[in-house]
């Protein structure tokens, strides 16, 4: 381990020069290559980035070529320890690095293959910032420069993000619609028709001459029969009405069982009286 450190240190020492020097690159191009050949080539430099966003089809790779040189040092040492192309999503700041293949003479090549771009960086219309990092041990100033943006062409739905803890969207239950009611006016109109019909019917009875003309005579001959009969019928109607309003079935049974014998006894007497009158032809 110690030996290794000494080795690295001596290497760094021979790389560094007493003058202040810096890593840089020149002759840089970005080519979009497909199996069929090169689609397009763009020039850039450390100070002049790519003008436009370069689109990268899913079957292609972006090949960066440049010549690394360290200012004021001999050509033989033009090989930095760190020569990376970094692609970064400017929104999420997630990044991925691709190592450059640097030759002794400083010629470097990085392939950013669409297939090797992590899925976290892919998405519809998601341009990625490309940076070149050149740095090494020693005192030479490192270089990190943004050279432009590439846009991996992504068709399809947005990939689902990773599972993370956090608040979820609110859910509010949607109730089934309430039953709809007709307006009271229409309902009352039809009720009025019903009432009118009844009035017309009763009116026609009266028009035909129906009248309780025998009332005094009937009451005189069978007072218990008629009064009891009508009173019990009305009482039974009242009992049913109470049940409709909310009384219990047991109360109703009790009331009806009390009223039914009265209605039966008084009713039979009343009807007997009616029969006697009818037989007399009245």
């Amino acid at each position: 381990m110690l030996l290794r450190n000494v080795l690295v240190a001596s290497l760094a020492a021979c790389v560094s020069s007493p003058l202040v020097s810096a890593w840089t690159f020149s002759n840089a191009t970005l080519a979009i290559n497909e199996r069929s050949g090169t689609l397009e080539t763009h020039q850039f430099s450390a100070s002049v980035p790519l003008a436009d966003i370069v689109s990268l089809p899913s079957s292609a790779l972006a090949r960066l070529r440049f010549t690394v040189r360290s200012d004021l040092t001999p050509d033989t040492s033009n090989k930095p320890h760190q020569a990376y192309a970094i692609i970064e999503d400017p929104v999420t700041k997630i990044e991925s690095s691709f190592t450059a293949d640097v030759r002794e003479n400083g010629r470097a090549r990085v392939d950013i293959d669409y297939k090797t771009i992590p899925t976290a960086l892919l998405g519809p219309n998601k341009p990625l910032t490309v940076k070149i990092v050149l740095a090494s041990f020693g005192t030479e100033a490192p270089l990190k420069v943004e050279i432009g943006q590439i846009l991996p062409v992504y068709n399809g739905p947005s990939p689902a993000g990773p599972i993370r803890f956090g608040p979820k969207p609110e859910i509010i239950h949607i109730f089934r619609p309430d039953p709809k009611f007709v307006s009271s006016a229409i309902s009352l109109f039809f009720s009025a028709i019903v009432v009118t019909t009844a009035v017309a019917l009763i009116g026609s009875w009266l028009h035909l001459g129906a009248a309780p003309s025998q009332l005094p005579k009937a009451l005189a001959s069978s007072p218990f029969g008629h009064l009891g009969f009508f009173a019990s019928i009305i009482a039974i109607e009242v009992a049913f009405f109470n049940y409709y309003l909310g009384s219990t079935i047991f109360k109703l049974i009790a009331q009806i069982s009390a009223l039914a014998p009265i209605a039966f006894l008084s009713g039979s007497r009343a009807l007997r009286e009616v029969r006697s009158r009818r037989l007399k032809g009245e």
Binding site: M1, R4, N5, L7, V8, A9, L11, A12, K79, P80, H81, Q82, A83, Y84, I86, I94, E95, S97, T99, V133, S136, F137, P142, K144, P162, I163, R164, F165, P167, K168, E170, I171, I172, H173, F175, R176, F181, S184, I186, S187, L188, S191, V194, V195, A198, I202, W205, A210, A211, P212, S213, Q214, L215, A218, F230, I234, E237, V274, G281, E282
Partner: protein
């Protein structure tokens, strides 16, 4: 005599309770701390770190890994509440008590573990396996994290392996650590990679130009870094589903007196923050009580509700700050009302303080679907202890006497009117039929 004996026992237990309550003054999970210290690591090099822990009422028990009496478990119970594990610089086994399985079982029973990897990046197979179970992938031995952009020129002018991390950009778990962002964090060691796992709690990562390289394989150029840029982490933890915590620090040198005493160093604050989180002193919340009831009633937690009734739900949450429980304030506490799927997911609003807890409440109308529903308070946030509370209730449908009456429904007016008209007309008909007759006796018939 027996009475006297009982009194003595009472006094004794009182004293014991007092002792225990003093001893557990700062950590919510206990003060018994085992430090597995490798002989290669000198305790005096880390004196400030250990003194800080003692100052926080921890009861430190230093043991070597090969101590025959060392055991994380005694009589089936956890023997310690917390463990700090340091690793040797070279290949050496830690013994059967510190294999991955006992360490994981220790966490399963609620213990917290802080692992300090050796600065050489050497991790034993057992620790590597333990870390992999947590979703942390440790680097190969002798690898180094270097950053040619942010390094300490005084200690590593050539090798750039003492890197400077900026708390403002590299600290991920900012809300749970109090670190002055104008200071710097000194670090030398390796870096590890993390799984994409939501239980993980990343704390400190490397800067975007850093990378891990292996001096043996990549002496001249870094052609296949183990991990690079902000994907390289140097401190990360995990909170298991039972709220037990484990943190791995990629290099123990970060906690040395040398690093603490360096000019402008934030390492000491960071170490305090990391150990406080690991040993359940910060980021600890608890659910104090839950109550649900019908609106405008007093009876709490009934077993049954009816559909479309207004329900009030209240939960009280406290947070452990320093040495006491205080109200926990947040704006993202959510309640789910579920039957298989959530019918409601509602943000709870903080409605006030009750003693040492904050009251979160909401009111909602029970859905128009009868069945067995669950009030599910599932509050899980990275860095905070998990709260997961489920209360099951029945939601019944309308009773036969709970619907609208027919006279309240306009559509029914014609029917009700018809009924009344029939009754009245029938009564009238009976009267007419019974009492009607010719005005005079039908004498004309005899003609």
């Amino acid at each position: 005599m027996a009475h006297f004996g009982r009194r003595i026992m009472q006094l004794f237990s009182l004293a014991l309770v007092a002792l225990v309550s003093v001893a557990t003054a700062l950590s919510t999970s206990g003060s018994k701390l085992l430090v597995v210290l490798d002989p290669s690591i000198k305790k005096q090099d880390y004196s400030i770190f250990f003194d800080d822990l003692k100052g926080r009422d921890f009861d430190l028990d230093f043991r070597a890994a090969n101590d025959p009496n060392l055991s994380l478990v005694s009589f089936g119970e956890r023997a310690y509440d917390q463990v700090i594990l340091t690793l040797p610089p070279t290949q050496k086994a830690l013994g059967p008590n510190l294999l991955a399985k006992p360490l994981l079982e220790f966490m399963t029973s609620g213990g917290n573990i802080l692992v300090l990897l050796n600065p050489t990046g050497h991790a034993l197979g057992s620790v590597r396996e333990f870390a992999r179970e947590l979703g942390i992938h440790l680097p190969f031995r002798d690898t180094k994290l270097v950053d040619h952009f942010h390094y300490d020129a005084a200690t590593s002018p050539e090798l750039h392996d003492t890197v400077i991390l900026d708390p403002a950009t590299d600290l991920v778990a900012v809300p749970h650590l109090e670190v002055d962002s104008t200071k710097k964090i000194l670090y030398s060691g390796s870096g590890f990679a993390l799984d994409n796992n939501h239980l993980l709690f990343p704390i400190l990562r490397a800067s975007d130009t850093a990378y891990v390289y292996d001096p043996a394989e990549e002496l001249l150029e870094s052609d296949a870094p183990f991990v690079s840029g902000t994907q390289a982490y140097v401190v990360a933890g995990i909170q298991a589903r039972n709220n037990a915590r484990a943190v791995i620090i990629a290099s123990s040198s970060m906690l040395s007196d040398e690093a603490f005493n360096a000019a402008d160093s934030a390492n000491r604050e960071l170490a305090a923050g990391i150990t406080k989180w690991t040993f359940q002193e910060t980021g600890v919340i608890k659910l104090k009580s839950v109550a649900h009831k019908l609106a405008n009633t007093v009876e709490e937690n009934p077993q049954i509700y009816r559909v479309k009734q207004d329900i009030i739900y209240e939960a009280e949450i406290s947070e452990w700050i320093d040495d006491k429980w205080v109200p926990f304030v947040a704006d993202d506490v959510q309640l789910e009302f579920t039957m298989l799927d959530p019918y409601y997911r509602l943000n709870l609003t903080a409605v006030g303080v009750s003693g040492d807890s904050e009251v979160y409440a909401t009111t909602f109308k029970a859905p128009d679907q009868h069945g067995v529903f669950t009030f599910n308070l599932n509050y899980k946030r990275t860095g905070l202890s998990y709260i997961d509370d489920k209360r099951t209730v029945t939601l019944r449908h309308f009773g036969h006497n709970e619907f609208l009456r027919s006279f309240e429904i306009p559509n029914a007016y014609p029917y009700i009117t018809s009924l009344v008209v029939v009754v009245v007309a029938w009564m009238l008909f009976i009267v007419l039929w019974v009492f009607s007759g010719p005005e005079k006796a039908p004498e004309k018939k005899t003609q």
